[in-house]
Subunit: 195 residues, 2 copies
DNA sequence: GGAGTTATGTACCACTTGATACAGAATAGG
DNA sequence: CCTATTCTGTATCAAGTGGTACATAACTCC
């Protein structure tokens, strides 16, 4: 197999740039011109490497989950449920208020309310958010079995609660709340942790 | 003064219809065609009555605050801080999961992450969310003075906490969470209310 | 009934949108 | 060197965007 003319750009770096734009402007607020300018490539190269706008967005989503938002998975590995939540909240706050990224959470503001045309993208984001919540639900189920949460705890409700806090913090960050302000919110949450 | 040809549509009803569309699809996900179809009027009538897309959106925002979201102001009049928060959360949940409206909160998903062109609209939403938070801050300050909250409470932090919960619930609703599921989240919040 | 005023509806504007056709450039294998 | 393959860049596409000009219709006041 002959490999033809080599790419003149780094695919992952271009994807990171695309992620930044989608993160700041959302799926529908981002134009192809925004993308090609940020990625430093022209339109046909973008389409050849990433398919189209939708598939590029989905790939940016994967990269977000595995890169900037990898703390979500890491949190689950903390020894106790409380520590997992603490890890999640603190690192989430660091991410969503990090000055080198757009404010807020890509997973929340990337495609929250969109046109019918973009609805599949929105639904995929809903699905991914639900997956994270379910992972915490399973973690809490384990915590109950390990005696690390009260036995009458409903793990699903608690996971939904944590998810609610997390998404709320993201909206706060998108509204301009600072790291310290959000850390104090997290403190209120953790102070009353049911354990 | 002569009044000319009378309007053939009800301005407030048309505004309600516009609100519904913006609520579901967000500012940038909504096209003029979406609007005119939902409002039952044609383009020039829309522009004559509401200015342009941005000003229409802002007017829809006013209508949202004074109509569907009037419970926010009402909550402040409850006798205690705890009751105010309880009122806020319960009625918010009713609103954001009401089947006769789009899921979620217009004030959150109407314009969370948008293009530069729409950024003024986004900022106005940020400002309005901040105003609601400040109102709760003042309410909590009063509650502390009335001995209805611990004297060492920081009213700003507490207001930000409540705001975070409220916005988090909105994202959950936009993701398809049911009324009952969110009521159980609210229960967790209220169970640990610092009073 | 005529004059003045305001709303409606068609038809259109310039511009942007996401997406491609196609020619040329850069590589690998033979 | 030649061919096959892949990428790049220009130039372009049809469709959709927000926004308006203009003729006409419906009303009030004189």
């Amino acid at each position: 197999m002959s490999s033809g003319r080599p790419r003149q750009f780094d695919v992952d770096q271009a994807l990171d740039r695309a992620l930044q734009v989608f993160w700041k402007k959302g799926y529908e607020g981002t134009s192809l011109l925004d993308l090609t300018e940020a990625m430093g490539i022209n339109r046909p190269s973008l389409y050849a490497a990433f398919g189209n706008k939708k598939t590029l967005f989905l790939k940016a989503m994967d990269r977000y989950v595995q890169g900037p938002a990898c703390h979500v998975g890491e949190a689950l590995q903390e020894p106790t449920a409380r520590q997992a939540v603490e890890y999640l909240l603190r690192h989430s706050i660091d991410l969503i208020t990090d000055a080198s990224n757009p404010c807020g959470c890509f997973m929340v503001q990337g495609a929250l309310a969109v046109s019918d045309d973009a609805d599949p993208v929105r639904q995929e984001m809903v699905r991914r958010r639900a997956m994270a919540e379910e992972a915490f639900c399973r973690r809490f189920t384990r915590a109950i079995a390990e005696g690390d949460l009260p036995p009458d705890t409903d793990p699903g409700d608690l996971a939904r609660y944590v998810s609610t806090i997390s998404h709320g913090l993201a909206v706060q960050a998108a509204s301009g709340a600072s790291r310290d302000e959000l850390l104090r919110v997290a403190e209120i949450v953790l102070r009353s942790w049911p354990a």
